[in-house]
């Protein structure tokens, strides 16, 4: 048996593994990432099964109207709010909103950002200059300010907020993908693909993009946490949905900010919910980064 054959035989004995599979294995061995997954899983289950888990509907009055609502206890694990609604139930339904907000706004940001980033990185030249200067311009204004401006322009409401927050994340994704593509564009495998006549569009979509996308995925996860905080922040500032019945976490906090002394639970519990979700998502993002970052690859 020749050396080459021996090597091939040895290789074929190995468990079949791919790039993503290796990344998954690394991810699975990272305890912090697993904590993140558990946290996010808990909130996801809470969001999906809110109607089954919640003891009461989110807007049903189950206790007395009160300017000094009761804290945890008496059959209500997290207490009541000033309209006599069960806070725990409201937070469960709020999880739906927050996760939706995270996914939708990052989705909007990704969709626009990827197109601009791919254009800038692959086409180059003046397209690159124009796109990237616009992105720089957006980054030079604090993202919360851009979001506030957009909400003012579009009007209050959940959809508007998600869009506004999504737009502020566009430059992050565009810059990241552009840089990643620039790094891959002159790679040997791209030259090799060109040498067999692969046309430009397939070169970008089939060869360069799959190799450039990993850092963007990591960033998307991390940005999702930021988006949830930003939406909560916008709600807190009073730019959230006008509908008082929507159990958005940031909105609940804002509505009760002046009751911090008399009914701290109304601010603390939604606060914890926001913190735990974002920590969970961040841990997943960091775990993903370590799992697929080419620099850490052996």
């Amino acid at each position: 048996m020749s050396i080459a054959e021996a090597q091939a035989a040895e290789l074929s004995l190995e468990r079949p593994s791919g790039l993503w599979r290796d990344a998954f294995d690394r991810f699975r061995r990272n305890p912090a990432a697993l904590v993140g997954v558990s946290l996010v899983l808990i909130f996801t289950i809470a969001a999906i099964f809110a109607p089954q888990i919640a003891p009461h509907p989110p807007n049903q009055q189950v206790g007395p109207l009160s300017t000094n609502p009761a804290g945890p206890g008496g059959g209500h694990v997290m207490g009541l709010d000033e309209q006599g609604r069960d806070l725990f139930s409201r937070l469960l339904y709020g999880a739906r909103l927050s996760l939706l907000v995270g996914i939708v706004s990052v989705g909007i940001g990704l969709a626009i950002g990827l197109v601009f980033g791919a254009l800038a990185g692959y086409v180059g030249g003046w397209v690159d200059t124009v796109v990237m200067r616009v992105m720089d311009l957006m980054l030079s204004i604090p993202s919360l300010l851009v979001a506030i401006g957009l909400v003012t322009l579009l009007g209050r409401g959940m959809v508007q907020i998600m869009f506004a927050v999504g737009v502020t994340t566009v430059p992050i994704f565009a810059r990241l993908l552009r840089g990643s593509i620039l790094g891959q564009r002159e790679a040997d495998y791209v030259l090799a693909a060109r040498s067999v006549g692969v046309p430009g569009r397939r070169l970008l979509l089939g060869h360069i993009l799959p190799n450039s996308i990993a850092p963007v995925i990591v960033q998307a996860t991390l940005t999702m946490a930021t988006a949830i905080i930003e939406v909560a922040g916008l709600s807190f500032l009073g730019l959230g949905p006008g509908d008082p019945s929507l159990p958005e976490w940031g909105k609940i906090m804002a509505d009760n900010a002046n009751r911090l002394e008399s009914a701290a639970h109304l601010v603390l519990f939604p606060g914890f919910a926001i913190v735990l979700t974002t920590i969970g998502i961040n841990l997943i993002g960091d775990g993903l980064r370590e799992a697929i970052d080419p620099k850490l690859k052996s």
């Binding site: 020749s2 050396i3 080459a4 054959e5 090597q7 091939a8 035989a9 290789l11 074929s12 190995e14 079949p16 593994s17 791919g18 790039l19 180059g124 002159e186 790679a187 040997d188 495998y189 030259l191 090799a192 693909a193 060109r194 040498s195 067999v196 006549g197 692969v198 046309p199 397939r202 089939g206 060869h207 799959p210 190799n211």
Partner: protein, 338 residues
């Protein structure tokens, strides 16, 4: 009529700081079933020439003169869409580093069938069968089981075989191999060279083998061109070139190759100095500053390729070396010959 006929090819790189004269008027013909070696040190323009022929130069590079006739078409004047049809179908290319030349996130089956879809319009079933046949042709064991493997699951030599399979997928008439064995172990080098030689013999392809390794050329190529600073300085049938080198640079290259049959006391003789700065293209022979035989004329007038001793032997030198000067040199170990 030759398969490929390159005339006065000139390539320059335009950067913000300077213009680099990478290739300065090279000409050669390649016939079907012929193997042509292009030898020279790093940066002499050998790889750039091949990229220019295929029209895949990096952005800063531009062909500034010459013709590349493939059949009755000049590849340099073709539109990119027409050139894309030729690349991979009529002319294939194998690159130096098999570790980076395959797309790391695509299964190798996918990378081979992509070429077949594109050029031969095969359907999926035929393409997969053909891909297996190709992998078997280039000597990959259990070919049908390996289509779904990723490049990192192959060793360097095996990856280079996959690259060759991709390059020959459409039975091209010409194969350009740019340092195909440089990144490989010596034992694997010989296997890959044998494979290339076999392909030339059986498929009747024309092969252009670009290398810095004189041992590789000795084993494979019928004819060898020696390149220096973007020009050919000597061109001859390989045996003639090795036994009767006429250009001082060729002689220098041969002297700097280690040999098994030399006594241990014998020292290698390096070529003094470094390759010239290609941003300034002065008059005279580019090798003159490093050449022990250089005269005032060498420094003032650029020599052109001219016949010497034999119609097939060309040299661009005002003071070619004689057999007596070259006597200390024997043919290097011929690694590629089996």
């Amino acid at each position: 009529m030759p398969l490929l006929s390159v005339r006065d090819l000139e390539v320059r790189f335009f950067t913000r700081r300077a213009t680099i004269h990478a290739v300065n008027g090279i000409s050669f013909d390649l016939d079907a079933g012929q193997t042509l070696g292009i030898v020279g040190e790093s940066g002499c323009g050998k790889s750039v020439s091949s990229l220019a022929i295929l029209g895949i130069l990096p952005k800063a590079g531009r062909v500034t003169g010459g013709r590349v006739m493939f059949g009755d078409r000049d590849l340099l004047t073709l539109k990119d869409s027409a050139l894309r049809e030729i690349r991979g179908r009529d002319i294939g290319m194998v690159f130096q580093d098999p570790m980076t030349s395959l797309n790391p996130v695509l299964k190798i089956g996918r990378q081979i069938t992509e070429v077949l879809f594109k050029h031969l319009r095969m359907d999926k079933h035929d393409a997969i069968r053909e891909a297996i046949a190709l992998l078997e042709r280039v000597g990959i064991p259990n070919a049908s089981d390996r289509l779904d493997d990723y490049p990192h699951q192959f060793s360097g030599g095996m990856r280079q075989r996959v690259m060759i399979a991709m390059a020959i997928a459409c039975r091209p008439q010409i194969l350009i191999a740019d340092e195909p064995t440089t990144a490989l172990d010596v034992t694997i080098q010989a296997q890959i060279l044998d494979l290339l030689k076999g392909l030339v013999e059986e498929e009747g392809m024309g092969l252009i083998l670009i290398t810095h390794d004189l041992g590789v050329v000795a084993g494979v190529c019928e004819r060898t061109h020696v390149m220096y600073a973007g020009r050919f300085v000597e061109a001859a049938p390989t045996d003639l070139l090795y036994h009767h080198p006429r250009h001082p640079y060729t002689l220098g290259l041969l002297r700097s190759v280690p040999r098994l049959d030399a006594s241990q006391k014998e020292k290698l003789i390096p070529i003094p100095g470094a390759p010239p700065d290609l941003t300034v293209l002065g008059a005279g022979c580019s090798f003159a500053p490093r050449c022990p035989y250089a005269t005032d004329r060498s420094r003032e007038v650029t020599p052109v390729l001219e016949e010497i001793d034999d119609p097939s032997h060309l040299v661009a030198c005002w003071n070619p070396v004689s057999d007596a000067d070259a006597s200390a040199v024997a043919v290097p170990v011929e690694r590629g010959r089996s």
